[in-house]
Amino acid sequence: MKRKPIVVYGLLVLVIGSLLSGCNQGEKTSEESRSSMIQSVDPEATAVKKGDHDVAEKVKKDVQSVPAIYDVAVIKGKDEILVAYKVKHMQRFHMKKIEGEINKRLEKKYPKENFIVSSDFKIFIEAIELKDRMEDKDYSSKDAEERLKKIIKFKKERT
């Protein structure tokens, strides 16, 4: 059996490699979301509607008071409030418990609001991305709401 030169196979490998990784398109990331991977960034709480800012800020304070948590991002949308947080590493064993605790606390305090709580790292990054975009005046609140919905949907899918 004669073998084709290794270059041909190398190319094939490359193609397969890129197929494998090319299934989802990457998006531009901001400085803050990048640094959020390594350190605590303490992002400002925001809301799609201007007037909801205070509520979001209050929610953030409440979540922050949970001792196992060190970094919280809150975005209030029309119907839902997205709460993304980071758990101190040694507490990560109890993530489920912490999530339940936060849910209970928030629901008790704000019975009317609908909370989406996530400790997922990716959701945290996405939240910061969205927050950064919202700071831009040209970014309409409709777009923001849509993107928030997308993140929430994204959070709910499991595998």
Partner: protein, 155 residues
């Protein structure tokens, strides 16, 4: 072994034990720890890569990470490196998912001289098959018990 050893065999066992080279357990464990740990470290980096540059959450990044690690295992196996790592690291390279990939890929490569259907197809899982069998069957039993307990309201 079920068979009883004869007195002669027992006597020989003693002589043999005296000369047998002992496996360097501690050294092997240290090597396994560092190589195995490093493979997991690479896996963690790959999963952060998927989370950061692509649309994957912590939950969903596992799948592409596993696929990528097995892809690495294919390259290392094909270029004849993985068996050398294996001799050095023992369980350090066998226990991670790359070791599972290596067992499938090495068998596939080895038997291609017997053709793609009977050779590659027939032998691909000759090492990994037992992992799948015991994984699936034990998962079935565990999940069945747990589901039944939930249905009966025990837990």
């Amino acid at each position: 072994m079920a068979k009883q050893k004869s007195p002669e065999q027992k006597r020989y066992e003693k002589i043999e034990q005296k000369h047998e080279a002992k496996r360097p357990v501690v050294k092997n464990c240290i090597k396994a720890f560092f190589v195995g740990g490093s493979i997991c470290l690479v896996g963690q980096a790959v999963s952060y890569f998927y989370m950061y540059y692509f649309h994957f959450t912590e939950q969903t990044a596992g799948n592409p990470t596993v696929a990528t690690m097995i892809f690495f295992a294919m390259l290392l196996t094909g270029f004849g490196v993985y068996d050398k790592i294996g001799q050095f690291a023992g369980a350090g390279s066998a226990v991670p998912i790359t070791g599972f990939g290596n067992s499938v890929i090495s068998a596939a490569i080895e038997h291609r001289t017997e053709g793609f259907v009977l050779g590659v197809g027939g032998n691909m899982f000759k090492l990994a098959g037992s992992v799948i069998l015991f994984g699936v069957f034990s998962a079935f039993v565990v999940a069945l018990i747990k589901t039944l307990l939930l249905i009966w309201g025990v837990i």
